[in-house]
């Protein structure tokens, strides 16, 4: 229950920040974080998170979270969103190099970027927003996990 949810969060974190190409590989990453489980359980977790195995380049696979990262366990699906969750329009976040790309619902990007800017996170040296996309320039020596962690205060549903 409690353990399982933190494990699902760990899976989401790992899949959001690195390229994973098999359940075996993900199992190893989870082991590094102290999660002990078998492939059977992981398969069920991925099923619950509706993770899909995509083809990146021929012969190379990547496990990806669904784009509207409506995660959490089944019980939270029926729980109404808080105003803050509802308000930020967050859909997904991806990383490449020192840049994070946040997708939002249409027209939400500007407001979200404004809020992130206002936080003056030292880990995020700047943002730029379109209509449904926010780009974050990440400070050097800052990990993606850290970025996700600090963003949680602005985007609780990240």
């Amino acid at each position: 229950m409690k353990i399982k949810n933190s494990r699902l969060d760990a899976i989401r974190l790992i899949l959001s920040t690195q390229d994973i190409s098999s359940q075996e590989e993900l199992l190893n990453e989870l082991a590094k974080e102290g999660f002990k489980l078998t492939q059977a359980t992981l398969s069920r977790d991925l099923h619950q998170l509706r993770v899909v195995k995509t083809v990146r380049t021929p012969g190379q696979y990547k496990y990806e979270l669904p784009r509207n990262s409506q995660y959490r366990t089944n019980d939270s699906e029926s729980r109404p969103l808080t105003t803050q969750q509802e308000a930020n329009g967050f859909l997904s976040i991806k990383f490449s190099g020192n840049i994070a790309v946040i997708r939002t619902k249409p027209s939400y990007a500007g407001t979200l970027a404004y809020h992130i800017d206002n936080c003056d996170f030292p880990e995020i040296i700047g943002t730029i927003a379109g209509d449904d996309t926010v780009m974050l320039i990440i400070a050097e020596d800052t990990t993606r996990g850290t970025v996700l962690r600090v963003l949680r205060s602005v985007i609780p549903n990240i």
Copy 2:
């Protein structure tokens, strides 16, 4: 080849119009259309089309095409700008690190970015547009050649 391409088209049509939950099931549908092939070949076809196996409801799977290879009727709205090469306003593309910068004619950038976004290329994790400039954030481990190749479906005159 000719046969193979029509088979790929048949696959795209089937996946666009019905729920398929396994390769074997798809094999049967293809047989109805007169295509004789084995699971090995089908697996390769699906790989080429970058089809993903998604979870619809718990325990129920569905093979889905990526957005940019879905079957579309000739409504010009959602269709990429493949017909009129002039329509996209493309002028030039340059690269630096994991960023590509596309210059367009004035006011064309937003529409072009929109179309690129809609394709959901895994190689391009995000775009942001000004008036005559589109910036693309390129996924890690993706070459510039690959970026140019995938953009060709949106910008034939690239």
